[in-house]
């Protein structure tokens, strides 16, 4: 489904990812954990085409994401190609990033109508379904500013799902929330993980959640995969001392 090959990314002199290789199978729920600055969020941003790779290639569903084929050669993708590639991918952000000038319903229907070409009636019916799923059916006419952070994030999840992505990227989606609001968001995510076959990449510091829902957990350190294992193995019996220290630090903090 997703394949990173020798991916490199730097910001100026700061190397974020180096020679990164990994794959994700269709329908997998993969959690990305690790200290901040280890490149987890950059991986999601590359997949969402918000950033470009400096080296290497990314494939999604067998198609190159950051490059397109011209004959036998690979050339950097142009905007038209990227628009096609992005169709398969949805993202939920740490800061929600709802559109404050639109009500909840329009936040969700805007992209299906104007990007996928779905009719308004169809988009609204689907939006109401999704709002029911995230427990906010009564908020469809509210404006984002009238919602709590947890509610905004659930709307953002509905908005991403409205595009029917094959891959969903979750970028620290509970990090900006008050502790008592985290549970509602995680409950929605658990339900999505259980009831859909969407491939999910989840950058998170919620270790209990990662342990419960993930098929696989990848521990990152300094731009590389330090450890890649089932949650059971990674949390109970990690191979690396670095992983053990990281987990201890996170759990002590919580």
């Amino acid at each position: 489904m997703i394949r990173f090959s020798q991916v490199a990314k730097s910001y100026g002199d700061h190397v974020v990812l180096r020679d990164l290789d990994f794959t994700v199978a269709p329908g997998e729920f993969v959690s990305l954990i690790g200290p901040s600055g280890s490149g987890k969020t950059t991986i999601l941003r590359l997949l969402m085409t918000l950033e470009k790779v400096d080296g290497g290639t990314i494939e999604v569903c067998g198609d190159y994401l950051s490059h397109k084929k011209r004959g036998e050669k690979l050339v950097p993708a142009d905007e038209k190609y990227l628009r096609q590639a992005r169709k398969r991918i949805g993202m939920v952000f740490q800061q929600f990033n709802l559109f404050p000038n639109m009500n909840v319903l329009r936040n969700i229907t805007e992209a299906p109508i104007h990007s996928l070409g779905v009719t308004r009636d169809e988009a609204e019916a689907r939006a109401v379904e999704l709002l029911e799923m995230v427990g906010l059916a009564d908020k469809k006419d509210a404006h984002p500013t009238q919602l709590s952070g947890g509610q905004q994030q659930r709307v953002a999840i509905a908005r991403a799902l409205a595009m029917r992505p094959d891959v969903l990227l979750l970028d620290e989606v509970t990090s900006a929330l008050d502790p008592e609001l985290v549970a509602d968001v995680l409950r929605v995510l658990r339900e999505i993980a259980a009831s859909t076959d969407i491939t999910i990449l989840c950058v998170t510091h919620e270790m209990q959640f990662a342990r419960d829902v993930s098929d696989r957990v990848m521990m990152f350190d300094q731009g590389q995969v330090l450890e890649d294992a089932t949650p059971d193995k990674l949390f109970n019996d990690p191979d690396h001392d670095r992983t053990r220290r990281f987990l201890k630090a996170v759990i002590d903090r919580a």
Partner: protein, 218 residues
């Protein structure tokens, strides 16, 4: 100094006629400035080669030369060069409109830059077409924020309309001059012209300040 209330009173009808022209020019030129300023800002933002630089150069040029010279240039140079004549009124609207468009462009730029990058990223993640990102996401957030600043420019534009006296537009000041020439009394009409400006720009300033406060709250 002798002040004649009668002369003052008699000058009022003509002055009001002039005020109407001043206000008309202010509103039309503002509309030109707001629309053209947005076009300038968008062209610069999209960074289309050559066109973008040309706009930047044009903005610098307009801002670095006096408005009155621009008025004269449009009035006396454009017709022989293009064969296209404009009335003093239309010339005034164009000159003030284009001049203030260069300021409005800067205001829009700031407003657009104030839209958080997360909004652009969400729009990209949702694969919205570029045109839709602008019309549905960015501008609806940027424009309300800049309304007070644009309003301030409209007020200063209003106060610059008397420059058009130079090409014979019959604005308040020109009417005051006319009254003076007819009655040989200059103090009353000029004073009243000043008062009329005050009566319009003062409430307008208060309105803009209110808009500013509201924009700051939201």
């Amino acid at each position: 100094m002798d002040w004649s209330w009668e002369a003052a009173y008699d000058s009022i009808p003509l002055l009001l006629k002039g005020l109407l022209v001043t206000v008309e020019i202010t509103l039309l030129a503002s509309a030109v400035a707001y629309a053209l300023g947005l076009v300038f800002a968008l062209i610069r933002r999209t960074g289309i080669p050559v066109l973008s630089q040309a706009v930047t150069l044009f903005i610098e040029f307009v801002r670095s030369t006096p408005l009155l010279i621009q008025v004269f240039a449009i009035f006396y140079l454009v017709p022989p060069l293009t064969g296209f004549t404009m009335s003093p009124f239309v010339t005034g609207v164009v000159a003030l409109g284009v001049h203030y468009a260069t300021y409005a462009a800067e205001v829009y730029r700031a407003g657009i830059e104030a839209v958080p990058s997360g909004q652009w990223e969400a729009a990209t993640a949702l694969n919205l077409p570029r045109s839709r990102v602008w019309t549905a996401v960015v501008l609806p957030q940027a424009v309300p924020r800049v309304v007070p600043a644009l309003g301030n420019y409209t007020i200063s534009l209003f106060k610059e309309v008397p420059l058009l006296l130079g090409i014979g537009v019959l604005d308040v000041l020109n009417r005051a001059k006319e009254v003076g020439a007819e009655t040989f009394r200059v103090v009353e009409p000029y004073t009243l012209a000043g008062v009329l400006f005050l009566l319009v720009s003062l409430p307008a300033s208060i309105l803009v300040r209110r808009l500013e406060r509201r924009a700051a709250h939201s």
